[in-house]
Amino acid sequence: GGQKPGSEAKTPEEPKDPEVIKIGHAVALTGDASIWGQSESNALKMWVNKVNDQGGIDGKKIQLVTYDTRADSVEAVNVAKRMIEQDKVVAIIGAAQSGVTIAMTAVTEPAKIPLISTTATNPEVTVKDGVVRPHTFRVCFIDPFQGTVAAQFASTKLGAKTAAVLYDVGSDYSSWLAQYFIEAFEKMGGTVLGKEAFRTGELDYRAMLGKLKEGKPDVVFIPTAQKEAALAMKQARDLGYEGKFLGGDNWGSPDIIELGGSAVEGGYFVNLASLEDPDIQDFIAEYRAEYGSDPVLPNPVMAIDALIVLVEAIKKAGSTDGGAIAKAIEEIKDLEALTGKITYDPATHNPLNKPAIIQQIKDGQFIYVEKYVTS
């Protein structure tokens, strides 16, 4: 309770300009997820300028309306209301978190405003109770796929027969990913020895880890945010666990290395993008030139993919009507986006064949291990 709607406006209000197409960008500029959010915002601005320089959408310029969600669902709902009711955006890019995005759909769907999430990997973002949300899309893979990739990698490449899972019940992302991993791993003949959970904000997992460690699992899957993952790995090592660690795309922050020190060395994780991906080298160079640092992947490239999808759909639809845009997105096939070709599945609003990348933490660096393209 007590929450106040709205957040920092990056764009002053302007009278409705027919020559401008407003696109909302809901992104975490402050808070735990701001490391990615800031970079995402930078990249998207850069890309919008690029599109506008190339003539915009059929001569109309794109105007980006950016609001901070703080990765907070309530704030995001307010942001969405504000974008729709006050700024009159035609579509929204974001948010990065599944829970936040699902919350936003409570507002965007009734208003029929297309929403393209960047990295919300939970299936329920686009499909609710088996029915697709008509105006909600994403440009990333989904958790069952990520879970499957992790499980496959564990059993085939790491040769793991047994696994244990430590996850965060306070995070929907974490709970679901844990579930998908377990299902996939067991399907592949592996045994899950134990599954323990903690709550967001807790710091001591030794009780749970002590229990998990008992069966000496080959890998421990820790699909949590980087802070918790780093702590968990440290504590597991303190308890004398010697096997391997495996994680999800949330590990992809340099933080994990700083926080985890020697304990995270050798850990593997699934990611959406990699700085070493040959397809995005041009973008990385441009970004570096503009901002003097590397983008914090994967969010920047995913947001740009979303923008590319949106521009294409608006062009195709020839209208800024939400329903028309959504329909156009459903029909997108083999669109050349930044991270590869995008084709939408109209039944799920998920992009088909999105690649997943396995990375490893080695000598304090993220190393590119391999790319999975199956779905």
């Binding site: 030794r206 749970m208 303190d238 020190g261």
Partner: protein
């Protein structure tokens, strides 16, 4: 398994105890819940981190540094946020609110200036572990446990065996009259906050080393508050026992029942203890006289 659980529980409980003692100390003197204790712990953790990394100092220096930082911060808090209330003889509720304000202020100040970044301590004590019959415990935990015991015992002796300790206890009842007998109130209360702050700094550096330093880490102290209530508010031995009981309870529940509903258990324990013993485990029941 049983041994490991007990050892882990003890290690966690030891940290709770250390935090709870500092909080209980202030409670026993000024009779209010100093919710800013957690923020001082948090800043102690930051201080330790920066002394170790930015100043490149050794561990003992950092340890002393965070204790001093905690003490200074505690004293400053008292001067600015509590003393004016004290002078006015304000009700304890007002102190509590002021403390809450300090906590919110400090935590969000760090958040707004240093950001949400997590600072991880360098591995000064190494990652070595000590094995005790099949179970293992981190060297850091052992160290923290030993250090806390010394600090807590020292504090107890100080309060009950020295003149300053007696003055502190006298002030806890009636500052005006204590001053009439020559006790310098501001100094004595400052001393209390200095001690509590030093304990907070100590807790902070251990917490930081064990986990990391970040703006909201002060909330861990919530557990310490609960521990202090279970033990009996304002009783220092109670705080220690409450902390250890809570640490063990949580660990055993996590291992043998379910880690997810652990907090429900600790809360129920709190309620049950208060139902059976309204003054907590160690809160001495003195029949009030009117």
């Amino acid at each position: 398994m049983l041994l490991q659980t007990a050892i882990t529980g003890l290690a966690i409980g030891g940290i709770y105890a250390l935090m709870a003692v500092g909080y209980s100390l202030v409670f026993s003197v000024l009779n209010f819940s100093n919710f800013a204790h957690g923020s001082v712990i948090m800043l102690g953790a930051y201080a330790g981190y920066f002394i170790l990394t930015k100043a490149g100092a050794s561990f003992p220096v950092a340890l002393a540094g965070s204790m001093v930082a905690g003490a200074v911060l505690g004293i400053t808090n008292e001067r600015l946020a509590y003393r004016p209330l004290r002078v006015r003889n304000a009700r304890p509720l007002y102190f509590m609110i002021s403390a809450m304000g300090v906590a919110i202020f400090l935590e969000n100040l760090v958040y707004a200036t240093l950001g949400a970044h997590f600072y991880s301590y360098p591995e000064v004590l190494g990652r070595s572990i000590v094995r005790i019959g099949g179970a293992s415990i981190g060297i850091l935990d052992l160290f923290a446990l030993a250090f806390s015991s010394v600090a807590i015992t020292g504090l107890h002796l100080f309060l009950h065996r020295t003149k300053s300790g007696l003055a502190i206890r006298a002030c806890s009842f009636d500052m005006t009259v204590a001053s009439v007998f020559g006790v310098r109130i501001d100094r004595t209360v400052g001393l209390v906050f200095g001690l509590a702050g030093a304990l907070a700094g100590l807790s902070g550096i251990f917490l930081g080393m064990k986990y990391m330093a970040y703006p909201t880490m002060g909330w861990i102290t919530n557990k310490a508050y609960v521990a202090a209530v279970i033990g009996g508010l304002g009783s220092l031995p109670g705080a220690v026992i409450g902390g250890i009981v809570l640490g063990l309870l949580e660990t055993f529940v996590s291992v043998y029942v379910s880690s997810i509903i652990r907090d429900v258990f600790s809360f129920s324990a709190l309620v049950l203890v208060l139902l059976a013993m309204p003054n907590g485990l160690m809160g001495k029941y003195v029949e009030e006289k009117i």
